[in-house]
């Protein structure tokens, strides 16, 4: 008798109006197997997990849990079928207690179903927590816990539910090495009891340490499944990245003169501390680092979004006084935010006006915006960034992510920004648009603009940057010149090999 696969995907495809996020994904996972899902951002891992956990539904294809066809209409169906999701972004309710969060949606009842049995909930929660971290008190509100502890609560919740399949999306992004070790033990125990574990992580060492099999995804396709116990790390990385895009020549347009000079910059609201660097005319500076290392927060400081605590930013030798984004914009700084939907676009407004928003006054004559002037500029600039479809009057929400991103780039071209800050410019957009954005960034550098790019994708950082700043715990860990750039060196500085305890990257751990 052959063992039935605990989970089997057959031709899962998911299309969105403008992008094919997942195409014909087929692979299976055996009981007791720790299965890594590998791939860059936008490869389709999250889409697959969302389908597995009943959050969204596949366009075509099917999947089976213990040989049974799964037809989940909602997350609750998936939960009942024994699937537990541990999200990277914790989905917990801050004001409720640990136990209440663990039993959220299906509380233990008493008095004939009228009341919640809080005592029993806390007892069972404590038992589950004891397996990982007995120091967490089930009766404390979630908001009092550190991020790592909250992550542990999520894992304990999966234990509590006796899940058959546990999917973990970047579970260690906020854990210390010691915490990772205890997680590894838990995972081994769960696997030994027959649970299938799907493990998504960008940290290859961890993946090779705890996973048995790995399925590599790229641009929505399954590239293949490899046995991680025998495969070489470099081969797996090659499978993940393996696209010609990354092998394109890097072109450098760095000029002599320093345009941006940052001295001892610290944030008033985040853990960014004592950051100093310069950017030359025509230079592309990449900023790398783990999630939470302060990359985004640094850009927000430069763009006037977050309040500066101390330090100085000067442009062309002139010190700036940044009090809000407006002051940064008038100094010639433009920010392409990480969360495009939340911080970038005005969904219902036309692309043309999304583009013109920061520079409306330039288009106005005696207080009246000349829409013909807006449209002329929009036509030129949106043509330049290759907006598709080329309909400048259409609400921006109807465009794909990549095209929304192009419109925001055009926004700063229209505003005449000389210093461009790109935060994860290609997150969640397809390969074609990605390549276009790379070329755009190069063109901007060629024109003499200075560009700072934050990216989690190392091949992207290496492809684009003349120089790379690696951040760790809100500080600059290293500045690497072009000839020093390899994924290895960047990662080792980002993780801080020499001081393993600094892996924990959120500010809760660094008491200042």
């Amino acid at each position: 008798m052959t063992t039935t696969a605990r989970l089997k995907f057959e031709g899962i495809t998911k299309t969105f109006p403008s992008v094919k996020a997942l195409s014909d994904a087929t692979f299976s996972i055996k009981p007791g197997e720790v299965h890594a899902l590998l791939g860059e951002n936008g490869a389709g891992k999250s889409t697959l997990l969302r389908i597995l956990s009943g959050v969204s539904r596949q366009t075509s294809g099917e999947f089976y849990v213990d040989g049974k066809l799964a037809t989940f209409k909602n997350p609750e169906d998936a939960r009942r079928a024994g699937i537990a999701m541990i999200h990277q972004e914790l989905q917990q309710i801050p004001n409720l207690t640990v136990a209440q969060n663990m039993f959220l949606g299906h509380p233990l009842k008493t008095a004939g179903g009228l009341l919640v049995n809080r005592r029993e909930q806390e007892k069972r929660a404590a038992a589950a927590l004891a397996m990982i971290d007995p120091s967490i008190d089930p009766s404390t509100p979630i908001k009092n816990l550190k991020v790592a502890q909250r992550q542990i609560v999520e894992i304990a919740r999966a234990l509590l539910e006796n899940a058959k399949i546990v999917a973990m999306d970047e579970p260690t992004s906020s854990l210390t090495p010691a915490e990772f070790e205890s997680l590894a033990v838990i995972i081994e125990k769960m696997a030994a009891s027959g649970v299938a574990i799907i493990y998504v992580s960008h940290k290859m060492d961890e993946v090779f340490r705890i996973c048995h099999q790995g399925t590599v995804m790229r641009d929505g396709n399954v590239v293949g499944t490899v046995d991680l116990r025998t495969a070489a790390q470099s081969d797996v990385i090659a499978m993940m990245v393996g696209r010609e895009l990354m092998h394109e020549e890097h072109n450098s347009f760095v000029k002599e003169d320093v345009r941006v000079e940052v001295r001892g910059l610290s944030s008033a609201v985040t853990h960014v501390r004592d950051v100093s660097f310069t950017v030359r005319r025509g230079e592309v500076v990449g900023i790398a680092g783990l999630v939470g290392s302060g990359r985004t927060e640094l850009l927000r400081l430069l763009a006037g979004v977050d309040k500066i605590g101390s330090g100085e930013i000067s442009i062309d030798g002139r010190a700036l006084k940044l009090t809000n984004p407006r002051s940064a914009i008038s100094a010639g700084i433009g920010l392409l935010p990480e969360e495009r939907k939340r911080e970038g676009i005005i969904p219902m407004r036309p692309v043309s006006l999304n583009m013109a928003l920061p520079s409306l006054r330039k288009f106005a004559k005696v207080g009246v915006v000349r829409h013909s002037a807006v449209n002329t500029t929009a036509e030129t600039l949106l043509k330049r960034v290759n907006l598709r479809p080329f309909q400048i009057d259409r609400p921006i929400k109807l465009f794909s992510g990549g095209n929304q991103q192009k419109a925001i780039i055009a926004r700063w071209l229209a505003a005449g920004s000389e210093i461009l800050l790109f935060d994860e410019p290609t997150r969640g957009i397809d390969v074609g648009a990605k390549s276009e954005i790379y070329h755009l960034i190069e063109n901007l550098a060629a024109e003499g603009k200075s560009v700072i790019v934050v990216s989690s994708e190392l091949p992207e950082v290496i492809r684009l940057s003349d120089r790379v700043i690696v951040m760790r715990n809100g500080r600059i860990a290293a500045q690497l010149e072009r000839h020093e750039l390899t994924e290895q060196t960047i990662v080792s500085h980002a993780v801080g090999d020499a001081e393993p305890n600094t892996l924990s990257s959120t500010q809760e751990h660094t008491h200042v």
């Binding site: 970038g344 219902m348 006006l353 920061p358 409306l360 915006v369 449209n375 036509e379 043509k383 009057d393």
Partner: protein, 324 residues
């Protein structure tokens, strides 16, 4: 450059593009209501009655224009009625003591602007929710009007002031002309000025607007100040008609104004709204009341009809907008 021109989609003429599909829907709604009453009420479509409808709609239209701008910015102004009352009693009291009309007028508009400024500052700088802020000032402003007058109406508004707001030019009531001018100004503001685009942007996505350098606080405060000024202006139309200013005037005006804006296509989520639509919405409500009164329908049933028309309008809006 030539290929850019070739690929540019044809833009419809300016006048048409400012009259959206949604506005066309509101207009169709108005036409249907007019047609129904024309069939039921003899003389409904007479010129005199049509002018009556416009005149009766003018106060609500005036308030609703300000309300539309506030709603577009993502807020709400529940305090318009009491704001109107404060400005009415102050203006009337000044007029009665013999202050020249222009001075009294400016004082009235000024106090309206100040009431709006207080709302705006509490929303934009203190960071309170618009609903709560204006719920609080709804009571506060009403109380101030009552305390100031001791609860008594201010009588004897001079004829000069009354004829300014209650007279007519070539048969068209001044109130209608005033509101038409205000509507045009509001339309220009929303469609043609940076602040109009800022209102739409802030209501559409405040966080993104901030990152894009939009002056958030200034934008919101502007909307509330305009709403306050227009409430004052609406009160002038009323005291011009009545010749007296009651401290309790303007009760429930905010609800009619919100209804007109919503029927006209404003989204209470912010970021969306139309001046043309709001005016049509106010006329729809006015025409309903006028028609039902002419049919001698009891007030209770008029209220019922108004409520139903709002719900039906919103359901049609929802159904025709489609998903996503």
């Amino acid at each position: 450059m030539s290929d850019i021109a070739a690929e540019t989609p044809k833009r419809s003429s300016k006048l048409f593009s400012s009259f959206s599909l949604r506005d066309a829907g509101t207009l169709i709604g108005l036409i249907i209501i007019m047609a129904v009453f024309a069939a039921l009420v003899p003389g409904f479509l007479f010129e005199r009655n049509l002018i009556n409808i416009l005149q009766q709609s003018s106060i609500n239209a005036c308030i609703a224009l300000g309300m539309t701008l506030v709603i577009i910015s993502g807020g709400i102004d529940l305090s318009v009625g009491p704001t109107a009352a404060i400005s009415a009693v102050l203006t009337a009291a000044l007029l009665v003591t013999g202050v020249p009309v222009p001075v009294a007028l400016l004082a009235g508009l000024g106090i309206g602007a100040f009431c709006g400024l207080v709302n705006g500052v509490l929303v934009a700088y203190v960071g309170l929710q618009p609903f709560i802020v204006t719920l609080g000032t709804l009571s506060t402003y009403r109380a101030i009007a009552l305390i100031y007058t001791g609860g008594n109406p201010v009588l004897g508004v001079p004829q000069g002031f009354r004829s300014l707001f209650n007279g007519n030019v070539a048969g068209i009531p001044n109130s209608v002309i005033i509101v038409a001018v205000v509507a045009f100004a509001a339309w220009v503001l929303l469609k043609k000025t940076p602040i109009g685009e800022y209102l739409l942007a802030v209501g559409g996505n405040e966080e993104a607007s901030y990152v894009a350098g939009v002056p958030i606080a200034l934008t919101k405060i502007t909307a509330y100040v305009i709403s306050g000024v227009l409430a004052a202006l609406a009160s002038f139309i009323l005291i011009g008609r009545l010749g007296a200013a009651e401290p309790i005037l303007g009760n429930l005006w905010e609800l009619d104004a919100i209804a007109a804006a919503a029927i006209g296509g404003a989204s209470l989520m912010g970021g969306k709204g139309s001046i043309v639509g709001t005016i049509l919405g106010a006329i729809i409500l006015g025409a309903m009341r006028n028609g039902l009164t002419l049919m001698n329908v009891q007030a209770f049933y008029q209220l019922l009809a108004t409520g139903l028309i709002i719900l039906v309008a919103m359901m049609i809006d929802r159904a025709t907008r489609g998903r996503g």
